[in-house]
Symmetry: C2
DNA sequence: CGAACGCTTGACATTTGTCAAACGGCGTGG
DNA sequence: CCACGCCGTTTGACAAATGTCAAGCGTTCG
């Protein structure tokens, strides 16, 4: 019996627009995305919500719920999607006996912490164009990570959702798409985006980029 | 033998201005703050850094390093501080045998994820006054959490560090302190801040607050 | 006592948000 | 199959928030 089987994955289908879980829902499982595309949103008291992340194949959702045994954000499918529910209680049992599983799980949580760090920096120290460039390059990289084309993809997001994630208004997002198009960085038709000149797009970020984005294995930090 | 002893805490003293670890440093331990006050910063390629969190007594630092076995951010003491280094390898061993320790650890990581969610919302959907109010109330709450006065405390931060954390410029931070003072929300003398009218301060946030009563803005620190 | 640093405050510039008009695809119903 | 209407988008004109730059002040520490 392999690890997957012992974790007792439960396959779930979520249709476009439906939620996987909502803030306040009882937390019981983590979810591994098998295919599709989902967004995570946090709710504000004023009724508005902000998109805090996207998930695609191979990524894991739900770790926000561990602390309070309740989810603190919403996850909603942006296209018909399929996920595996992994019982958290069962996962915790198995980490005690399956070598490496505990470490794997901790790595995953740590990665989520580092990812959010990146978003904080994105929101905190990059201007609108830099954010958009970062967003496009990041999506491209993640699509490529599981065999999709890196340079052309279908955003199943509205301009408003992109804006919510990047903390820009719909109008600003649209304007920047136009500017990028005029400058020959990307081609846009409807929701299809093609990265025409990756170098230039990377140069948009330039001085705002994360130091750690440069060379993965060799971060700075010599003095001390 | 109690849990603390078995985890083999190592006490460290870090003087004001010194670092606990820097981005790129090998990750070996988590750190529990015993006393003092530290900041965590992430580095940008352009050489600037952004403050991503603060840590005070009882909070845990270093979880960002688990993924790559290297730290991805810097942690620096803002006043003379004392921390306990907890060997991560040892911690992972012990979670296998000490009931509840694994769960406790997972809760802690999840809390950090939720905290960062809060900062993302702070940066993404609150204006300058709301951010400052959130920051002050959050600090107040955390000081109170370990027995300090909730309404009066000593910021060992410069205006620039506050600004870096909230993504505002030094000037804006200063101006908002002045405005809050004029309106009778706080009293400021040097780095001492006293919350004069907590209700009004909370009302500044008002419509920007998280639906969940959890204060998002400037939560617990830890890096990450 | 003097220099350095951090802070305050003003005038002005810039970025981004707001609001509104108009366009375009896409789907639905005739 | 076509027409209409809706939703998402584009774009413009303008407003507001915040950043930039610079001058001057107060503390603190050597």
């Amino acid at each position: 019996m392999n690890v997957s089987a012992r974790l007792m994955f439960t396959r779930l289908h979520i249709r476009r627009g439906e939620s996987l879980y909502l803030a306040g829902d009882r937390f019981t499982s983590l979810y591994a995305v098998r295919n599709g595309f989902l967004k995570t949103t946090a709710i504000l008291a004023n009724g508005r919500d902000q998109v805090t992340g996207f998930a695609m194949t191979g990524e894991v959702l739900g770790m926000d719920g561990i602390e309070e045994e309740r989810h603190t954000c919403n996850t909603i499918a942006l296209e018909d999607s399929e996920v595996c529910a992994i019982s958290f209680a069962r996962l915790q049992e198995l980490t005690l006996t399956i070598p490496g599983l505990q470490r794997h799980f901790h790595t995953m949580m740590s990665r989520e912490i580092v990812r959010e760090h990146g978003v904080m920096l994105l929101l905190g120290s990059m201007n609108a164009e830099e954010r958009m460039a970062m967003f496009l390059l990041n999506l491209s990289q993640r699509f490529a990570a599981h065999g999709c084309t890196a340079s052309e993809f279908n955003l199943c997001l509205t301009r408003e959702e992109i804006g919510s994630y990047l903390s820009l208004t719909l109008g600003t997002v649209s304007r920047i798409f136009s500017r990028f198009r005029e400058r020959g960085l990307i081609a846009v038709r409807q929701k299809f985006v093609r990265i025409v000149d990756r170098d230039k797009l990377e140069r948009v970020i330039g001085r705002g980029a994360l130091a750690t984005d440069r060379v993965p294995g060799t971060p700075p930090s010599e003095n001390a």
